[in-house]
């Protein structure tokens, strides 16, 4: 038998008193409480302090800064055109006057091409990693938070992406769509979001059990509010670290594709296709092999240092 709904009364029969504040205000109140209870430093200040003590991360940060500045100022720094051939200047060795890193097989200045190529390579790295990271973070948060059929579906999709051999598929796709840097970015994002998704999901499953989420639910926050205000900010640290590390990975993948002759079309210089071109002249101009690879290496190394330092700095459990 169904018991009739009780009118809104306290257990002792008294009418419920008027609320002191609305639910939203309570929510903000809780957050305000959290910030005031922090000791001497805010979170951001602690992160900055830890980051500044990490020498390798600072080195990485500076190298990346210098590389970005140099590549953005490519047309100011160098007076050569990256794609116009000057046949009489072929294969000038490095450290010659006028050509700091020498010239390639059709007389184009290598230093100029490194700078312009860096623009494309860095752009591909940044855009791929950031887009993939955001998609992964959103899908991972939703998947971990809601669970149920959406979660199982996402996990199956992720498993498909983990088990499929990526490189042959990437080769196939870039053979069909290849050429422009934007298509390469698109292909890499489609095959690059699954890792972040699974990582963020795992983290969210952990966060879901914390008391503050329960508290937010208890005071009646909506799902979207809990995800956006309470779950998502707590995953930012790990997403940021994985984005930093995957910039290097994306640059590596792009250069591998270019190396196999399938990346960005040869008339747009990238570090990968410069290297691929240099392979043909290994016997008479070995220096052509060295420079583009060195810059790929330097960039990936710097991003790895930076990511490592960020992880140490953002992890609040690690006290210095």
């Amino acid at each position: 038998m169904k018991t009739p709904e009780k009118p809104n009364l306290m257990p002792d029969g008294q009418p419920i008193p008027e609320p002191v504040c609305t639910l939203d205000e309570m929510d903000i109140g809780l957050e305000a409480l959290e910030t005031t209870s922090a000791k001497e430093y805010t979170y951001a200040q602690m992160v900055l302090r830890r980051f500044l003590r990490h020498k390798l991360a600072l080195t990485g940060f500076f190298i990346i800064g210098i590389l970005i500045t140099l590549t953005l100022l490519a047309n100011v720094i160098s007076s050569y055109d990256p794609s116009i051939a000057v046949i009489q200047d072929r294969f000038i060795p490095p450290f010659s006057p006028g050509h700091f890193l020498g010239t390639d097989d059709v007389g184009r200045d290598v230093w100029t091409r490194i700078l312009y190529g860096g623009r494309i390579s860095l752009m591909i790295g940044f855009i791929t990693a950031i887009t993939g990271g955001i998609i992964g973070a959103l899908l991972g948060s939703a998947s971990g938070y809601f669970g149920g059929w959406f979660d199982s579906l996402m996990m199956r999709v992720c498993e498909v992406f983990f088990s499929i051999p990526t490189l042959p598929i990437l080769i196939t796709l870039s053979k069909y769509f290849g050429g422009s840097p934007w298509n390469i970015i698109l292909i890499m994002v489609v095959f690059g979001w699954a890792g972040t998704t699974r990582m963020v999901r795992g983290l969210v499953l952990q966060i879901k059990q914390y008391e503050y989420i329960e508290a937010a639910k208890a005071i009646g926050c909506s799902n979207s509010r809990i995800i956006l205000r309470h779950v998502f900010p707590n995953t930012i640290a790990i997403v940021l670290v994985s984005m930093t590390l995957s910039i290097g990975g994306a640059i590596l993948t792009e250069s591998s594709l270019s190396f196999l002759g399938l990346g960005v079309q040869p008339d747009i210089p990238t570090w990968g296709n410069m290297l691929s071109n240099a392979m043909n002249f290994m016997w008479n101009a070995p220096h052509l092999v060295i420079w583009p690879g060195f810059f790929i290496f330097l960039t990936i190394l710097s991003f790895n240092f930076l990511g490592d330092g960020l992880r140490d700095a953002l992890d609040p459990k690690l006290k210095l």
């Binding site: 498993e159 088990s163 051999p165 490189l167 042959p168 196939t172 053979k175 196999l260 016997w283």
Partner: protein
């Protein structure tokens, strides 16, 4: 336990089916094998092309072609390579030993070097040796395989004087010098063949193993550091065991579980990752075959390879999951 294995196997089988569908659709994008036919014979008429397409079933939509492919696979027929004009399954099988032969040696070198180095790094944490190894590991992680390979080729195959150069294409030379004469490879005595093969293997094996050392070394280091913190290690030390016994018997036995699982997990990656290194060194293995298959629009062969690589990944992930339960009695599966 058995229930878990059976349930997981069905799930993985389902994933394999999805992969086969995706891969098939993507591979049909690559292009018609007809393009190759046209480039080989510019005088070919449209009618001949149509007849060929009809014979090969290429005039049907991709979805139908996928189901025909799937039906044939269930019968054990993976199709016929368009470039080699041979059934693809034996073709793949014939290439597997070449890849395994190189990768097994690489794996052996990595295990023999990185686990001891990782343990040493962990037991001497924050020593200068540890810092040097950490720095080298960072370098190894950041070096692109193809560039490091090219540098190795430059340093050992191009720069040295002619008689000291190491070969860097293929598995063996066409002809070898023996007793001052140049004779064909097949006619050479066995020890000359062995030396020639080792010479060809040196550069690719060195390239990959030097780069991949870093990962397993760092992993061993962190696994050891994790174990050394545990209470039972303190107990072992407290009861007066020698440091060597504590590290190599008590700590290593527990650290070996994550190390072993990561090793098992990395086996399919060896095949999938062999593409670039085999392409660079002209090594006739699975990786080179899948690259060539894609580049020559030979999609039955590419499909066979991709399915083989996915199958390996799926099976080895399953094995890793199960081996956790076998190696670590604390884990049970429902």
């Amino acid at each position: 336990m058995w229930q878990y294995i059976v349930k997981q196997s069905f799930q993985r089988l389902f994933i394999l089916i999805i992969i086969s569908f995706l891969a098939f659709i993507i591979l049909t994008l690559v292009g018609d094998p007809v393009d190759i036919l046209k480039s080989m014979n510019p005088h070919i008429t449209q009618k001949q092309i149509d007849v060929y397409k009809h014979q090969q079933g290429l005039d049907r939509p991709p979805l139908i072609r996928y189901f025909i492919w799937a039906r044939n696979v269930l019968k054990g027929d993976f199709g016929i390579s368009r470039a080699y004009k041979q059934p693809v399954f034996p073709l793949l099988i014939s290439r597997i030993p070449n890849t395994m032969y190189m990768q097994a040696i690489i794996m052996l070198i990595i295990i023999c070097l990185s686990i001891p180095l990782g343990i040493f790094s962990a037991t001497h944490q924050y020593s200068s040796f540890d810092y040097i190894l950490t720095f080298l590991a960072f370098t190894g992680n950041a070096l692109p395989t193809f560039w490091f390979g090219l540098l190795m080729i430059l340093a050992f195959g191009v720069m040295p004087a002619k008689e000291f150069r190491l070969p860097f294409t293929g598995m063996y030379s066409d002809s070898v010098s023996y007793n001052g004469n140049v004779i064909p490879y097949d006619a050479a005595p066995w020890f000359i063949k062995v030396i020639d093969r080792i010479k060809h293997m040196l550069l690719p094996v060195l390239t990959v193993s030097l780069l991949s050392l870093a990962g397993l070394m760092r992993y061993t280091r962190s696994a050891m550091l994790e174990v050394v913190k545990q209470d039972y290690i303190r107990t072992a030390r407290a009861k007066g065991l020698r440091e060597k016994t504590v590290i190599y018997v008590h700590a290593l036995r527990n650290a070996i579980i994550p190390i072993a699982t990561i090793l098992i997990q990395s086996i399919p990656g060896l095949f999938a990752g062999s593409l670039i290194i085999e392409q660079l060194f002209g090594w006739p293995g699975v990786g080179k075959m899948v690259y060539e298959a894609v580049m020559s629009n030979d999609y039955p062969l590419a499909m066979m390879n991709i399915m083989f690589l996915s199958f390996l990944t799926v099976v080895f992930t399953l094995i890793t999951d199960i081996s956790y339960a076998f190696l670590d009695p604390r884990i049970t599966y429902r």
